[in-house]
Each structure stands twice: as structure tokens, then as C-alpha cells.
């Protein structure tokens, strides 16, 4: 491969990356056991809307636990709640941003659904088992990620540009900051209870 061809290929690769970069980094939640389950997402982008996915997201209730514990979805997504336990389960939310919905009670093998229409951090509770809690965080953009146990996250395929990036965690106060994406972009967040 000639030197000119190699430089051309590298330049083309860099240009492609710049068009579809990512936001990666770490969320540190001070004072809690680990930094898992924080949701990092790009806030609403003025003038841009995103079509809700046709496919439903699924949250299970198994062994008296919501699985996953925290789910991030795009606004307009319908979430199906499956009961995999041999006991009755219920799902409701006390949060106004999802109309304080209550889906009733249903037995093993059945599921009920709710569509999250707008940006919201909804707490999900089960009236039958008060210790159960789960969360659905609705992002206005499809650019979101849920952190791993070490707090790391990657939001893929974020177009270059200037954004407000928000972070939410079940036990810490939410936060946000401006992030300019240019290819692979690092962003770190430190939040506390």
C-alpha cells in the first residue's frame, strides 16, 4: 500500500468516526455501595424528534425482583411487565410523569404493558411486595446508557455536536452538564445522595 493510499484511508476512517462517535466515561455515585444503574442520556435536542420503537421493552418480575432493576428507554416505548413468579405481582408508579399508573395484579406467565410517553424517571413498585422496586428512565433521545457496577458507560453512535447530558441514579441526586461530542468523547460525572 502506497503512503498516499494509507494516509487517505486513515483520513477517511477519522471522518467516519467523527460522524458517529460515542460518549463514554464513568459515573461516580458517592456514598452508595456501587455506581451501577445510573442512567446517562442526551437531553432533548431542539428541533429533533425520534420515532418510538415498535418493539416492546420487557421487564421481568422474578424471585420478587424487577429484572432489570433499572431500564432506560426512548420516549414512546411500551414496556411489558412479565410475572415469572408463582405469586401474584402488581406494578404501579407513584410518579406524576407517568400518570401514576397502576396496572393491577396478575399471575405467573402473564404480562401487562405501559407506554412511557415523555421524559421521566419512573419508580416502579409492587403493592403485593413492598420491598420490590424498579425504575424506568425515559430518555427524549435514543442516546442513553445504563452504567455497569464500576460506573462505566458508553453511549454509542452519538452524532458530533453540542449536547446537554443528564445523569440519573436511584439513590443520588440527578445532575447534568454540557458535552461537546467530537468522535469518541469522554465525560465523567460525580453525583451524591
Amino acid at each position: 500500500m502506497s503512503k498516499t493510499l494509507l494516509l487517505t484511508a486513515l483520513g477517511l476512517g477519522a471522518a467516519l468516526c467523527a460522524q458517529a462517535g460515542d460518549i463514554h466515561g464513568k459515573v461516580t455515585c458517592k456514598g452508595v455501595r456501587d455506581s451501577a444503574d445510573a442512567v446517562v442520556y442526551v437531553a432533548a435536542i431542539p428541533g429533533k424528534t425520534f420515532a418510538a420503537p415498535a418493539a416492546h421493552a420487557k421487564m421481568d418480575q422474578k424471585n420478587l425482583v424487577f429484572i432489570p432493576h433499572v431500564m432506560a428507554v426512548l420516549a414512546g416505548t411500551t414496556v411489558d411487565y412479565l410475572n415469572s413468579d408463582a405469586v401474584l405481582h402488581n406494578v404501579f408508579s407513584p410518579d406524576a410523569c407517568c400518570d401514576k399508573f397502576n396496572l393491577g395484579t396478575w399471575p405467573q406467565g402473564q404480562s401487562k404493558s405501559y407506554t412511557f410517553k415523555k421524559e421521566c424517571a419512573a419508580t416502579l413498585l409492587c403493592k403485593v411486595h413492598p420491598e420490590m422496586e424498579g425504575f424506568v428512565v425515559t430518555s427524549p433521545t435514543p442516546y442513553f446508557a445504563v452504567t455497569k457496577a464500576d460506573g462505566s458507560f458508553t453511549i454509542p453512535n452519538v452524532p458530533d455536536g453540542a449536547y446537554t447530558v443528564k445523569v440519573w441514579h436511584p439513590k443520588c441526586k440527578p445532575s447534568q452538564k454540557a458535552v461537546t461530542v467530537a468522535g469518541a468523547t469522554a465525560a465523567a460525572f460525580e453525583i451524591a445522595k
Binding site: R33, P94, L125, K127, P130, E131, E133, K193
Partner: protein, 492 residues
């Protein structure tokens, strides 16, 4: 005892004396490895030598068994949720959420002692007991922990075995606490149940490194024909200062360094009375069960700590050494207690025993009003901690007929007591303590009681200690008691 004492009464008094001796052995022993498990930390995080608390341990205790500025990641045993936090938003449509400790919050203390005692009476007669193996002397079962952010609990069940093989079991503590209910953190806390009141923070038995408690403060009975005559037995002097109470207490720490507490309580203890007088000549209730009347004791204590760690664990602006028992501080406090023992009959005694009326019935007495006021001070300089209390007591004693109906005399009697104790950390495993106590009884015809107590403790492990303790108690005209106790205590 007076030679004319009727046999039935003599036998009753002997019984009460034995009961008091037994209960005296059941001294509170506070060491909670429950928290070592919960936080996965050593006992010496909170204790210089258990049960004596270091400054951090005192803050932990006053914070309702929570670390200063505690965060979730400090707690290694994940609690059991009794409801999602979000349920607070739907109350009262659901029960308020709370938590349980992750594991059964139970711990055990075992205490064994080899006891040598020597008693010399006023006439020089001597009684010596060599090497009495009191194995065990007592076993304590503890439960303690937190229930969510604003509740805590503590209970202690003690089983003690006396020198004669007799044994007994008692609930020594059982209380619930409600912390930081409103206002600034640590400012307003409430607890209720059976507990050692914060009135004695720093000098009640459950917070002392020594095996013997301060008898001159807690085991003096001020009720007597001419006032109290001295320390009768361990546990018998519940009218002086009640070591534990059944009550409701409010306490808090303000601005890191000001401590306050006040409470309302019944006293607890065997007493030396005979029964509760109903006022119509008949009696009811358990003999000696002091506190079974309509009146409550009230108490108050105010402290301020200069230097060292704040009472809530605050260290802002303070340079603390890495040795967590050390600091340079001075804490001073005033304390007061007021009560009313009307309708609780005691047998009128002097140094020789019960005083009989012309019909050979013992006079009865009631302590219709008593006040205790005291001053507490504690100075810590590096490895040395010197602390003490001066206490003044006043009792209004009514002398009555045996049926309680005839009032013969009302007298005000006063007594005073003080102690000073020095604890020194030779090295983390080796501790020394020396204490001197003096009690000047209300009965001016008897001599003061002087007590010396010396202790050497080897902390073999954070939860295992050996103590060698010498105690001498003397009262001119009454006699001298000496004891050497070799004690092993383990907490697990």
C-alpha cells in the same frame, strides 16, 4: 442488725440482701460485636478497651448506632428492605418503609471471674474467701441495631450466677430510639424503654473499663432513721441514683459540642423497702419494688466539650491523632434529678439495723422528696483520661408507724459523694485504671465510706480481655471489704 429484730423480718432482710447481692453481680456489660459485623470493623474502632468508648464510639452511640456522616457504602451487611423508599411518597396509602438489620443483630458476652474477698467487721472479725471460681459470673445476650434512618434498638438479657450457685435472669435493657426526628441532624432524639439514662454518660458501669462500678454514687440508700448510713450492697441503693430506669428520654447534640438530655422515669431496682403503701393501712406490690407509685423522676444534664472530636463525631478544624483513643479535650457537665417516693415504705434503720417502736414494730419511712445535683468533668490528654463526678443529695424523710398512717417526724437529710478516676493507655493492649470514691452519708453519726479501685487490663484481642482488679471499701466503725478479681471477658 438490732437484736430485737423479729425473726420473720430478719429473714426478709436477709432475703433482700441476697437478692441485692445477686443483682449486683449482674452489672451491665456493654460491648456489641453486632456492629463489628455490620461494618466489618474491629471493636477498637469504638472502644479503647470495651466497654469504655473512645471519642468516635461515643459519637456512634449518640448518633443512634450510626457512624458520623454515615453513607451506605460504609455498611457491609446490606439491610433487609421492608419497603421501597418510594413508599414514603404514597403514605398513607401504604405502610411507611423501613429496614431490618441484614443478619440477626445478636451478640454474646461471657464473663468469668476468680474472686478473692476479705471482709473485716468492726470488731476485727475476718472472713476470707480464696479463689472462688465464678465460672461463669454472667452471660449477656445483646441485640442492638438500627431500623432505617431514624430508629434504633438495644436489648440486653443477662443471666448471672452468684457465689452460692444461685442464678437469675434479667432483662437489663430494652429500648427503642428515634433519632434526628426533626431539626438539625443529631439535635433531637428520643428513646424509651428500660435503659441507662444519658444522665450518667461516661460514668455508669456500662461505660467504665473497670469491673466494679461507682458504688458510692449508685449503691447508696439515703433512707434511714437519721439518714442513709452508707453503701449497703450492690444494687440496693436505687434511691440515690437509679443506674437504669424505665422511662422516656430526650437528648441531642447541638453545634457539635453541646450535649443535653432530660427525661421522665420510674426507678428500677430491688430497693430495701417492704411494700407499697396504699394509704389506707394496707400494702400491695412486690416488696422492695421501688418506683411503683404515681410519681416520676425527672432528670436533666447539660454538657459542653472543649477540644477533641465533636460529640457527634465532627472533626472539622480539629487535628486528630491516628491513635483513636487519644485527643486533647475537656468535657464538663451539670446533672440533676428530682423525685418523689411518697407511699413507698422503707423500714427505718440505722447502722445497727431496724428501729422498733414501743410495740416492737419497725418504724417505716418514706422519701417524699429527693433531689440530686452533680458536676461531671472529663479531661483527656493523649493516653490519659481523668474524669469524675461530685454529687450532692437531699432527701425529705418521713418517719411513720408500721401501718404508714401516723406521721411521727419529717426530716431533711443531705449526703454527698464524689469519685475521680484516671484511665491510662500504656499501649493499645495494656490499660491501667485507678479510682477513689468517697461517700459522706446523711446519717452524721456514721463515718464516710472510702473506696479505692485499681485495675490492670490486658486486651488480648479486640474482643477478649483479662482484668486484674483490686477493690477496697472501708468505713470506720463498720468494717473493711477487700477483693481481688481476676476476670476474663469475651464478646462475640
Amino acid at each position: 442488725m438490732n437484736p430485737s429484730t423479729p425473726p420473720r423480718l430478719r429473714s426478709l432482710l436477709h432475703g433482700l440482701l441476697l437478692l441485692a447481692l445477686f443483682l449486683g453481680l449482674a452489672a451491665p456489660a456493654s460491648a456489641f460485636p453486632i456492629f463489628a459485623r455490620k461494618y466489618q470493623t474491629s471493636c477498637v474502632t469504638c472502644h479503647s478497651v470495651y466497654p469504655k468508648l473512645n471519642p468516635f464510639g461515643e459519637a456512634f452511640r449518640l448518633n443512634g448506632y450510626r457512624m458520623p456522616k454515615e453513607t451506605e457504602d460504609l455498611i457491609k451487611q446490606k439491610p433487609v428492605s421492608l419497603g421501597s423508599e418510594a413508599y414514603k411518597r404514597v403514605w398513607p396509602d401504604a405502610v411507611w418503609p423501613n429496614e431490618l438489620p441484614g443478619n440477626a443483630p445478636v451478640a454474646v458476652n461471657v464473663k468469668m471471674a476468680n474472686v478473692y474477698t476479705s471482709s473485716t467487721d468492726a470488731s476485727g472479725g475476718k472472713t476470707i474467701v480464696h479463689n472462688d471460681f465464678q465460672f461463669p459470673q454472667e452471660v449477656n445476650l445483646f441485640a442492638a441495631g438500627t431500623l432505617g434512618e431514624h430508629m434504633s434498638f438495644m436489648a440486653e438479657l443477662t443471666h448471672a450466677e452468684g457465689p452460692d450457685g444461685g442464678s437469675g435472669t434479667e432483662i437489663e435493657h430494652a429500648r427503642l430510639g428515634f433519632e434526628s426526628l426533626f431539626g438539625p441532624e443529631h439535635a433531637f432524639n428520643v428513646r424509651m424503654g428500660k435503659f441507662a439514662p444519658n444522665l450518667y454518660a461516661g460514668f455508669q458501669e456500662m461505660w467504665l473499663m473497670t469491673d466494679n462500678g461507682v458504688d458510692s454514687l449508685f449503691n447508696y440508700n439515703p433512707v434511714g432513721f437519721k439518714g442513709g448510713t452508707g453503701v449497703i450492697t450492690d444494687g440496693a441503693g436505687i434511691v440515690s441514683l437509679p443506674a437504669r430506669v424505665r422511662g422516656i428520654e430526650v437528648y441531642g447534640v447541638l453545634n457539635h459540642r453541646f450535649f443535653y438530655t432530660f427525661g421522665f422515669s420510674n426507678k428500677i431496682g430491688p430497693g430495701s423497702g417492704v411494700a407499697t403503701n396504699t394509704g389506707d393501712g394496707s400494702t400491695q406490690g412486690t416488696p422492695g419494688n421501688f418506683g411503683a407509685n404515681n410519681h416520676k423522676d425527672i432528670y436533666l444534664r447539660l454538657d459542653y466539650k472543649f477540644g477533641g472530636m465533636g460529640l457527634d463525631g465532627d472533626t472539622e478544624g480539629v487535628q486528630m491523632p491516628p491513635e483513636n483513643w487519644r485527643e486533647k479535650s475537656f468535657r464538663i457537665g451539670v446533672l440533676a434529678l428530682k423525685g418523689n417516693g411518697t407511699n413507698i415504705d422503707f423500714i427505718a434503720t440505722d447502722a445497727n439495723g431496724p428501729i422498733l417502736d414501743p410495740s416492737d414494730n419497725p418504724y417505716h419511712m418514706q422519701d417524699t422528696s429527693y433531689t440530686r445535683t452533680g458536676l461531671f468533668a472529663s479531661w483527656t490528654y493523649s493516653d490519659l483520661n481523668v474524669f469524675g463526678v461530685y454529687l450532692s443529695g437531699k432527701d425529705t424523710l418521713e418517719t411513720r408507724s408500721a401501718d404508714g398512717l401516723t406521721l411521727y417526724a419529717t426530716d431533711d437529710r443531705t449526703y454527698k459523694a464524689y469519685f475521680v478516676q484516671a484511665d491510662y493507655v500504656l499501649a493499645p493492649p495494656f490499660h491501667l485504671s485507678a479510682r477513689y470514691e468517697k461517700l459522706t452519708p446523711g446519717d452524721t453519726t456514721v463515718q464516710p465510706v472510702k473506696v479505692s479501685n485499681y485495675n490492670f487490663t490486658y486486651l488480648a484481642a479486640a474482643n477478649l480481655k483479662f482484668m486484674l482488679e483490686y477493690n477496697k471499701s472501708e468505713q470506720a466503725g463498720v468494717g473493711t471489704n477487700k477483693s481481688i478479681n481476676t476476670v476474663i471477658r469475651a464478646a462475640f
